[in-house]
Each structure stands twice: as structure tokens, then as C-alpha cells.
């Protein structure tokens, strides 16, 4: 199953590298939103809960762009039929798609987080960076699992662009809450270790639940 997932993931990355449809759009979107917040809030610097909220909401909205595109190649170019005709474990398709989305999110964050630090964040970004990376990676796992599931569900519908945010954003509310709550002390300098542990645990639990749910139902989503 892992070998098949890797084959599909490699194909997706090859196509993304050539079309540059998802990651550049996500990165550009995030930087644009930071600029809009910069002017909209009429603040040169943000800190604390406001900074955390802006960062997480921007990352989650950027995720919507990638989720919209995740299965489009399969549907528009008939690739999904090729996958369904092959004697493969269909969980491999989920693992590959979630893996691709995870990598897109990591690449997005490599651009968006430094841009956020430069454009909006008041406190120094370097000191809380290791903890922030842990939070982002945990959140990315959940975003990738839910995103792959929603993308597979929405790609069959005519109003895919509407369905994805309507389904995805409510499901991502726990990530937004846990991410923002865990990040707020990092951006205000009064980090309390036990509070951080609680939100990290919540993100971990969210990842586990949605990974298991996605693996359990994904096969049915691919049926006609």
C-alpha cells in the first residue's frame, strides 16, 4: 500500500511541479491576506491573540485553495478511472492525496510564516519558532486528512468551488481554535507549558480521529 501511495504521490508532485497550480497560489494568497490585514487593521505590528488568529485563519483559508484542486486532475483528465481500474488498495489514493496536501502546506508555511513575521508580527519569530513548527506540523496532518476527504467528496459535485469551503471550514474550526490558543502565548511572550500541552494534545487527537475516519470512509467515496 505504501509503495502504491508513493507512486501516486510522486505523480501528483510531478504534475504540481509542471503546472504550479496549487502551492504558488496558496503562497501568493497568504502574503496578499497579510498585506490586506496590515492595511485593514491599520497596524504595523500584531501580537498575542490577534497575531495568532490572523496567522491561523490565513493558513486555513489558503488550504481551501489546494483542497479545491486536489482531485481536479483525476476528474478532468480521467485519472480516477485509471486508479479505480488498477488492483490497488484504495486507501493508497487517500494516503497519496493527503500526503500531497501535507507537502503543499509545508511549502506554503515556508513562505507564509516568514512573510507573516516580516509583515505583521511584532514579537521576534525566532524564539517561539520550534514550538510553532511543532504546532504547524500537527495542524498540517489534520488539515491534510480532512482536506483529502472533502476534496474527494466535492470533486463529484458541480458546485465544487462552493462545496469545498462550506464543508471544509466548519470541520477545521477545532484546528483554528487549538492552533490560535496554542500560538497566542508564543506571540505574547507569556507561554505556559501546561496550556500548550493541552492544545497540542487536542491537535493530536483531531489528527488521529480524522485520519481514522478518512481511511474508513474513503473507499465508499470513490464508488460511483
Amino acid at each position: 500500500m505504501i509503495g502504491t501511495a508513493w507512486t501516486i504521490l510522486r505523480k501528483d508532485l510531478q504534475i504540481e511541479l509542471r503546472t504550479k497550480e496549487s502551492v504558488p497560489a496558496m503562497a501568493l494568497f497568504s502574503v496578499t491576506v497579510f498585506v490586506l490585514f496590515h492595511f485593514g487593521l491599520q497596524r504595523n505590528e500584531l501580537e498575542g491573540d490577534l497575531a495568532a488568529g490572523v496567522l491561523w485563519v490565513t493558513l486555513i483559508l489558503a488550504t481551501v485553495l489546494a483542497v479545491n484542486r486536489l482531485f481536479v486532475t483525476e476528474r478532468e483528465q480521467g485519472g480516477i478511472d485509471g486508479l479505480l481500474l488498477a488492483p490497488i488498495d484504495r486507501t493508497a489514493v487517500f494516503v497519496a492525496k493527503a500526503g500531497a496536501l501535507f507537502l503543499y502546506l509545508v511549502l506554503l508555511e515556508l513562505v507564509a510564516v516568514p512573510a507573516f513575521g516580516i509583515l505583521l508580527l511584532g514579537p521576534d519569530l525566532f524564539k517561539p519558532l520550534p514550538t510553532l513548527i511543532l504546532l504547524l506540523v500537527l495542524a498540517d496532518v489534520g488539515l491534510a486528512a480532512v482536506g483529502a476527504l472533502v476534496s474527494a467528496l466535492a470533486v463529484e459535485t458541480r458546485a465544487r468551488d462552493l462545496i469545498v469551503p462550506l464543508l471544509l471550514l466548519p470541520l477545521l474550526v477545532p484546528v483554528a481554535i487549538a492552533g490560535a490558543e496554542a500560538t497566542e502565548p508564543l506571540f505574547s511572550g507569556n507561554q505556559a507549558a501546561h496550556e500548550l500541552g493541552k492544545w497540542v494534545a487536542l491537535l493530536g487527537l483531531y489528527d488521529m480521529v480524522f485520519l481514522l475516519v478518512s481511511i474508513a470512509v474513503f473507499d465508499f467515496l470513490l464508488e460511483d
Partner: protein, 228 residues
Amino acid sequence: MAEQAAAPVIDVEGLERRYGERAALSGVSFRLGEGQTLGLFGPNGAGKSTLLRVLATLLRPHAGGVRVLGAALPGESWKARGRVGYVGHEPLLYRELSGRENLVFHARLHRVPEARVDELIAAVGMQRRARDPVRELSRGMVQRLSAARALLHDPPLLLLDEPYSGLDPAARELLDPLIGRPCGRTRVLVSHDVEAGAAESDLALGLRAGKQLIFGRPDPAAIRGLFR
């Protein structure tokens, strides 16, 4: 005509398939033995492609019995997957990848060695353009690659939806030993060319509006009647 084997490769009894309320296939029944070719005929919207997709395990039958290569669909679809070669309306190739990259991708999914990819690229006469992105190829070239994709895993059953559309006579000649009658595989062939399709077939199935009107030895006059 090839002798019908005791256990048919395809056994369909009272097949029904709906899209919403509309019946795309209703009461379709036939058997196809090993090495035989079934010609599927009918006007646009008759249900030919739907039948092919059901046999390919891409669509679930809603009623009736369907057995493909001994696997009862939809419950045992997994047994038939990987043993069917399917050439549909879509080539099932990614436009941004080259023909060779596409075939290598499908070969890995089917656990077929890469040497088979090069063998088939040569067989369909695509050596010169195999490394070009599929989006830069002509329709006929894409169709040749699509046939190569369908044959990668050496399937005993071929489901062919107008496989010669967009091909020039030279390309047809090239593909004939691979997917034509000389290939010796069991085939279901959709064709709008009544004479050529009938000549290629051992049995003919005529559909109109999802209903089976003809089944038996191919009779071009009767088949033409489907289009009136």
C-alpha cells in the same frame, strides 16, 4: 466463431443501471465466451458506454447479475480489477506527463516491469514522441497510448469504446494485432461503423434507450435498424 467455453468470461442477466430516475440500462442479458468478441451497437445515448463501464467495475449495477472473469459484481469487483483492459472515451492519461511517464505510472499501479512499457511504446509506434507531454500529442497518438495503457498488464478481457476513433489507416494497422481480432483476447467492442464492427464481432448486442433489442450473430441490416 470461437467456441463458447463452459464458464463464460462475461455473464450478464437482467442488468439494470440508472442515473437518478432514468434507466440507462434495463433488462440486458448476454454471455460471452473466452476469445469471443461482442460488438456493442446502438445510437448515441443507447447505454453502450454505460454497459462497458459496468463491465469494467467503474459503475455499480443496480439490479441483475453480472459476472466478469468469474467475479460477481459489484461484491467481487476487486477480483476483476487488474484483469480488464479498458479503452474509453477518455484516454486516462495525464496531460502534463509524457506518454512514457503515464505508462510507467500505470505499470507501477499494475506491478508490471518497466520493460513492458518500452515494449508497448514500440508496438504502438510511439518511440519518437514518447517523452513529449500528452497535451502536445495529436488525438490519434493519444489513442495509441491509451491502447498501450490498456494492454500493460496483459489483460484477458478488453473493453473497447470506439478504440479506432481518431486513428489514421497506418495506426489502425499498427493497433490491429494488439486490440483487433488477431490479438485473441475476449473483447467487447463499441463501434459506430456497422460493417467494420460486425466483421470484427462473433456476437452483436444492439441497444436503444438502454433496452436490449438485438443479441446474436452480427447482422448488419438488423444493426442498421437500431439507428432508424
